[in-house]
């Protein structure tokens, strides 16, 4: 098979004197030597080299299939059908990309060194959901949760706050990558946790009196009955010096588990009375452990100074959970990040339960605004940990495993230092990952123009059969408040009041 895409303004190669450059072509996004899933959409890019006309040939390793693309402006857009055949036929091998450029002025045809795209045998889940939001401070305007087929460029709006009274739409979470069972938080006039189960909506409020804040950062129990949340009093501080912009921190935080069938909320309590901040819960694949981040409380629960925040470092711990009784055991340390002067966030366990990927940064709870934040992996069978080889000099953070455990999607600010973009990385083994690549777009310049961030990218194994109007209709459902599953457990009233009332100068809840 050979497909040629002809673009006007590009004449033939004949008459041009070929010469080798001895180097790879500069392309954007950088897709050289990346590892891609066989079901990925065309990896369109633009060639950032001088030239009047560019020729590209993409060939399967066997040489049986190839695509020829000719471009006058350096923008390479692969035809979808041919690309699908090429990647399908190249699974487990690689695609060779050869590029040459002609310049009328010199009459030369410059040939660049070929580069390769490795095609894995294992596909990634076909859909990604994410929130498109300005990486701003207090204000928000248009917020959407989108679903994007990674197999094509099809992107659809799942939730749109334009028809939800411009409410803030928060975290979304799926049960076992299932497009039919997920939840999303909405704050504002349509406040609530909306749970969609096979197209049927529930609108609940898992918050009980003893929680320091609303339910946030959800994680579905694999059994589908429970959702773990953290409950945080979130504050923001804004730095004066240019190197950093924002610090997001918790005054108080705790972990709860919500029983979706019985409408009960339980504190993940092991009887330890030490003052901890607890956040970012994440279930083990067998549902017997709840992992989360835990730090010793350094501030006074009502005021956190910059020094306090810089001293707050989170470790990864886990607490045993019995799904039959909703009972908890004793918390145990999994990864002592604070011992090494670091702070850990976003524990995510591989579907086989063997590996734990976290974000490691210097201090605090919110790595999205920490340039030094990098992804680290822990082998849960040995406790050994290492920095992953997919990081950059900018923030690399929020990450999720694919359902087959062979792919990671993570948020990186490596393109401009401010906006997060979804990168996919092939997980070969714990000490080797494929070179990550940014989710391809039909227009390779798409990310340059987009001001919004891709927030909370999550793999889903199918298309969600819902749209914005379905959520708008769901707001008519009366919210149901949860009851306490362990009423004897509560923070002292004084603590809650204090945390809610007093504010550090310049700090305000991000949802106010």
């Amino acid at each position: 098979m050979s497909v040629i895409i002809l673009l006007t303004g590009c004449s033939g190669k004949s008459g041009l004197e070929p010469s080798g450059t001895g180097r790879l072509p500069a392309i954007e996004p950088d897709y050289t030597d990346v590892t891609i899933p066989p079901n990925i959409a065309p990896m369109n890019f633009r060639i950032e080299e001088e030239g009047d006309c560019f020729w590209l040939t993409a060939t399967s390793e066997s040489g049986a299939l190839s695509i020829d693309v000719r471009s006058s402006d350096g923008v390479i857009k692969f035809p979808a059908k041919s690309w699908k055949k090429l990647t399908g036929a190249s699974a487990g091998s690689r695609i060779k990309i050869e590029i040459s450029a002609s310049r009328k002025s010199s009459g030369k045809l410059e040939k660049f060194e070929p580069f390769y795209m490795n095609v894995s045998e294992e596909p990634a889940d076909p859909y990604l959901t994410y929130r498109l939001i300005y990486p701003g401070y207090y204000n928000w305007s248009h917020i959407r949760i989108m679903q994007r087929s990674i197999e094509s460029f099809s992107e659809e709006t799942l939730i749109d706050n334009k028809i939800l009274d411009m409410n803030c739409i928060n975290c979304h979470s799926f049960n076992q990558y299932n497009p039919g069972k997920f939840m999303v938080h909405i704050r504002g006039s349509n406040n609530g946790t909306y749970i969609s189960d096979k197209g049927r909506f529930l609108r609940v409020d898992p918050k009980i009196e003893s929680m320091p804040g609303g339910a946030t950062y959800p994680s579905w129990h694999p059994g589908g009955k429970y959702i773990a949340f953290s409950s945080n009093q979130v504050r923001q501080g804004f730095y004066a010096k240019p190197e950093k912009l924002i610090e997001v921190f918790d005054l108080v935080s705790d972990i709860v588990v919500y029983d979706t069938e019985r409408n009960l909320t339980y504190h993940a309590d092991d009887g330890d009375t030490t003052g901890y901040l607890k956040t970012f819960p994440s279930w083990s694949p067998d549902g017997r452990w709840l992992y989360f981040c835990r730090a010793l409380q350094t501030g006074s629960q009502s005021v956190m100074t910059l020094d306090d925040i810089e001293e707050t470092r989170y470790d990864i711990v886990r607490i045993p959970f019995d799904p039959e009784t909703a009972g908890f055991g004793k918390t145990e340390m999994v990864f002592n990040a604070s011992l090494n002067g670091k702070s850990a966030s976003f524990p995510r366990i591989s579907p086989d339960g063997r590996y734990l990927v976290i974000t490691l940064h210097d201090f605090g709870t919110f790595p999205i605004w920490h340039r030094e934040a990098d992804l680290h992996i822990i082998d849960l069978s040995t406790g050994e940990s290492r920095k992953m080889d997919i990081n950059s000099s900018e923030t690399d953070s929020y990450h999720t495993w694919s359902s087959n455990g062979k792919w990671l999607v993570f948020s990186s600010k490596r393109t401009d230092g401010r906006t997060t973009r979804p990168f996919l990385a092939y997980f070969e083994r714990w000490d080797k990952t494929g070179k990550p690549f940014i989710l391809p777009q039909k227009d390779p310049a798409y990310y340059d123009k987009l001001m919004e961030s891709y927030n909370i990218p999550e793999f889903v194994n199918g298309k969600i059969p819902l749209g914005p109007r379905d959520f708008a209709k769901a707001t008519a459902i009366e919210p149901v408040g949860a009851k306490s599953g362990n009423p004897e457990r509560s923070l002292s009233t004084k603590t809650i009041e204090k945390a809610g009332m007093e504010r550090n100068p310049g700090e305000k809840s991000i949802h106010e």
């Binding site: 300005y134 701003g136 401070y137 207090y138 204000n139 928000w140 305007s141 709006t157 749109d160 334009k162 028809i163 009274d165 501080g237 804004f238 730095y239 004066a240 010096k241 240019p242 190197e243 950093k244 912009l245 610090e247 100074t305 910059l306 393109t415 401009d416 230092g417 401010r418 340059d448 123009k449 001001m451 914005p468 109007r469 550090n504 100068p505 310049g506 700090e507 305000k508």
Partner: protein
């Protein structure tokens, strides 16, 4: 016999020949009134509106305007609004657009009331109403475009000769609805009245029914397929909803007038205006009265205080700080934002503590830093930019962009702040947006060149100055008490005289003389060779109450200020004999001194 009688009467009928149409004189006069108004006194409206959006020459931006009914009109309006950047071109375009309803209605009148002496009068009224509406700075070009589109479509429909052609023309109503949104619904009302008044037989009912059906279908279809706005937006976009009683009244009058226009023309057409005096009254005197009334309404609707605020804003945004200082002192703004811009201009020209009370300071410290709110989000960044707290200036600019979209000032500030902060990737992103505009392209390209070159940034007169003001050590910015940032900025970077003078201005306005004089000792090390006038005045108040001078850090008080204080003291003691007139007397002679502010404000 009958025929003969008719023939005999023919010469008499020549008396009733239509008078020469002088409408165009009035249309030209209207155009000139509008043009001159917006070129000179009302020019602030153009600046304000030009600053509300950026028209980008990109496919993505343009395509966004085709996603919901009414948006294509907005695209045209925003395209035209970008030319407001130039006062002459902007006034010309605006005057032309405002004149269009009169021209279109004139042509409609030729169909509905041919030869009537009232043609000009009726045609010019909607343009006059629009002109009065346009005096409000939130009356966007979009609303003018909506009216022009609906009138154009009405002209097209009524100009069809046959009933069949009218049905065909009417079938294009969805196009009008798509282009002009809810303005199409005003057309619906207008056409229904037209059908009932002008059409005969079954068509007078069938056509309105067809139109009503089409309108309903359009609303339903757009609701289902095109838009995701809330219900109010779906039905009313893009009709104006400006919180101003005069504007609301004018809009309602305009809508009612247009909906009833066919009936009005029907009645007017039946009037027999035959005598020269009647003709003069109908075709000259009445239109002239309407025009004169419009001029009077313009004068009445003109808000000098609004104009002053926006003119000050314009001077500051264009970097004409000295002009801004002089403008406020000559034409004082009584508005918080106006006085806020005056203080920024004072700071930017290094005159904060020398001229602070030369202009009005009615809002105490609120005019130094605007409180954090969506109401002030457009302007709040400027004070932080002035004192070199660049991260906070960037935050305000970014938040404004999130809430109100990309605007010239927020994008320019994002470019400048990212250059000062050394975040060149984001500079490229912001300049790439401005480069897609017609009038900010050059500015963006000039600044884009600086990205990646810290030395070039430092060499830039504006940016380099701000780089030197950056704080030395990090701290969390105080958002709700912005003045708390000032001592930190000064302590960490003694070269930051802008922050120092903002701090001193804060203390002056708050009459906190004790704390103010305690900072005077720092001034010599900060590079001051003389003490600014108002700080000297505060020192003398301190001396007067404490009997000793504070530590002046090696600087000295000027003899002029000492002499003037003696004069003030003498005048005060003398005027005290007449307590009822004390303030007035002191104000007359010393109204622009800190001493007067301290004692009487």
């Amino acid at each position: 016999m009958t025929k003969n009688r008719n023939k005999k009467s023919t010469p008499q009928k020549q008396v009733f020949l239509p008078a020469p149409d002088r409408s165009w004189y009035f249309f030209v006069a209207f155009f000139l009134i509008a043009f001159i108004y917006f070129l000179i006194p009302g020019n602030y409206v153009l600046f304000f509106q030009e600053q509300q959006s950026l028209f980008l020459y990109t496919a993505d931006y343009i395509l966004e305007f085709f996603k919901k009914p009414g948006s294509p009109a907005d695209m045209v309006a925003k395209f035209l609004t970008q030319f407001y950047i130039n006062s002459f071109t902007g006034s010309l375009i605006l005057a032309l657009v405002l004149s269009l309803p009169a021209v279109i209605l004139h042509r409609i009148n030729r169909r509905l009331m041919p030869g009537s002496g009232l043609t000009c009068l009726l045609a010019i009224i909607p343009s006059c109403l629009l002109l009065i509406m346009q005096t409000h700075y939130y009356h966007l070009m979009l609303y003018n475009a909506g009216f022009v589109l609906l009138l154009s479509f009405f002209l097209i429909v009524v100009s069809r000769e046959t009933t069949g052609d009218k049905y065909i023309a009417l079938a294009f109503f969805p196009v009008l609805y798509y282009l002009a949104g809810a303005f199409g619904l005003i057309f619906t009302g207008m056409f229904i009245v037209y059908s009932l008044v002008y059409l005969k037989g079954r068509h007078r009912y069938l056509m309105p029914l067809m139109l009503a059906g089409l309108a309903g279908l359009c609303v339903l279809l757009s609701d289902k397929f095109l838009i995701t706005d809330d219900i109010k937006q779906r039905f009313l976009y893009p009709l104006p909803d400006i919180n101003d009683s005069l504007h609301r009244l004018m809009f309602r009058l305009m809508t009612a007038f247009l909906v009833l226009y066919p009936l009005i023309t029907r009645l007017a057409g039946r009037l027999r205006i035959v005598r020269p005096r009647e003709r003069f009254a109908a075709s000259i005197a009445l239109p002239a009265i309407i025009l004169c009334s419009a001029v009077a309404a313009l004068a009445a609707a003109f808000k000098p205080q609004t104009a002053r605020v926006i003119n000050l804003e314009k001077l500051v945004f264009t970097g004409k700080y000295q002009e801004a200082v002089e403008y406020h002192e000559k034409k004082p703004s009584e508005n918080l934002i106006g006085q806020y811009f005056y203080n920024i201009a004072l700071s930017s020209t290094g005159q904060m503590c020398d001229r602070l009370f030369q202009g009005r300071q009615d809002f105490r410290t609120s005019s130094l830093f605007l409180p954090w709110s969506s109401e002030h989000i457009n302007w709040g960044a400027q004070a932080f930019y002035a004192i070199g707290l660049i991260n906070e200036a960037q935050r305000w600019a970014y938040e404004e962009m999130v809430v109100y979209g990309k605007r010239p000032q927020n994008m320019k500030l994002l470019v400048k702040s990212s250059l000062i902060n050394g975040n060149y990737s984001m500079t490229a992103k912001y300049t790439s947006i401005l480069k897609k505009t017609l009038f900010y392209r050059k500015w963006a390209m000039d600044h884009e060149k600086l990205a990646g070159d810290p030395l070039a940034v430092k060499s830039d007169p504006d940016l380099g100055k701000k780089v030197n003001l950056l704080p030395g050590q990090d701290f969390f910015i105080f958002l709700e008490t912005p003045e708390s940032n000032l001592p930190r900025l000064v302590n960490q970077n003694p070269g930051n005289r802008e922050a120092f003078e903002y701090m001193m201005a804060w203390l002056l306005i708050n009459k906190d003389v004790e704390m103010l004089v305690d900072n005077v000792r720092l001034m010599k090390n900060m590079g001051y060779t003389r003490i600014p006038g108002y700080i000297e005045e505060a020192i003398l108040i301190y001396y007067n109450s404490q009997g000793v001078f504070p530590d002046l850090g090696g600087l000295e008080l000027s003899s002029e200020t000492r002499l003037r204080f003696d004069q003030y003291f003498t005048a005060f003691m003398s005027a005290r004999q007449n307590p009822a007139r004390l303030e007035a007397l002191m104000k007359k002679q010393f109204g622009n001194t800190f001493w007067y502010y301290f004692h009487f404000r």
